[in-house]
Symmetry: C2
Subunit: 207 residues, 2 copies
Amino acid sequence: MSARTGNLDQQDFIRAGTQFVDEHGLQALTMRALGEKLGVDATACYRHFTSKDELLSAMVDAMLAAALDSIESPPASPRDGLIEHVRAVRRAFLKHPHLAATLVTSTGDLPSVRRLTLNGIELLRLMVLEGDELVRCYQMIESYTMGSCVFDMSGTPDNMEIRRLRYRSLGVKEFTDVARTMKGVSSMTEAAFEAGIDAIIDSFSPR
Amino acid sequence: MSARTGNLDQQDFIRAGTQFVDEHGLQALTMRALGEKLGVDATACYRHFTSKDELLSAMVDAMLAAALDSIESPPASPRDGLIEHVRAVRRAFLKHPHLAATLVTSTGDLPSVRRLTLNGIELLRLMVLEGDELVRCYQMIESYTMGSCVFDMSGTPDNMEIRRLRYRSLGVKEFTDVARTMKGVSSMTEAAFEAGIDAIIDSFSPR
DNA sequence: ACCTGAACACCGTTCAAGT
DNA sequence: ACCTGAACACCGTTCAAGT
């Protein structure tokens, strides 16, 4: 972090923590390493967060809040609105893949997730959903989106390399072809994600 | 673990580790605690596994291998075969929810996942899929299934309680109704998962 | 009000030594 | 061949003390 102008605040730790994780991975983020990066003692963070878990939650929250802000509104249609929300979350995790595992580990409910949920409900209402179906369709989209992101990104980049090696070891021509390059595997994964969200939305709101 | 009859083997550690995690959660599983449960020194595990990560991977592998063995074959149709595979994985994670986070953390490719993949490909081939579409549809199902399981189960039971509180805090009648009981939230989550896998399979193989 | 730095109670893991 | 137990190099976190 560049020029230290006196005391730090929560935002400084969130920014530095996110940048550190992007560069060195989640496992490398220790309070001591973060302190060193900020030119501060390892325990300085505890002035602003009660625990490491809370810092990590705040980092994820900031990431998703930025994703929300990147969504242009209003959407052309409720369907487009939903897909844009889902894609914004996906983009956020692609940008900060090492935070994927954190979503699963960290406890606490995040304001940004609340906003995402409320936006989602509003869009589903415009598709004339109500009652239990409204809740079920919302949760289906949330579990698909968050789940796929966590599963596809976590352990980056080892995770993708493992997937590629598995593809190659199957002895199935179609998979061997895709697995010739890392790019092949990752673009296939993104295409699968897109196809999945289309399938899910189609199931309750046919085009 | 009951009667110690001499030396332990890999299976003993896998069994004890899984049982311990089921009872006390993933965070409580330390090498020292596991050793104590088995009436053995904390470092005894290193005779059978090179690291804690490898033990955890073996635990997940054993869980998924058991899931595979629980599948009756042959299926009534390729579609039924796919759904049975997906449900078997879901059941495994419902039984051992604390292992969900491990799938995401652990590195290494598991024999059981390889078998699941090969079975899935065979079933998709019976649905006349080929080329890139075969790979994409397989990966769509894998990411959905594994991802949703990880997202829905991890952090159990705190995770579900947080979801319930979020439902209640939205001020949306439909969600408040579902969130009256934990059972309401969890059965809604399972219904959403079922609807999702139906939607995904329908998208490339209409009923 | 914020940071320091020593200290505490843990971790996973290594390795010489036991049997 | 398998286990022990001391030891190492770390963790997250607390708390009295500084400024």
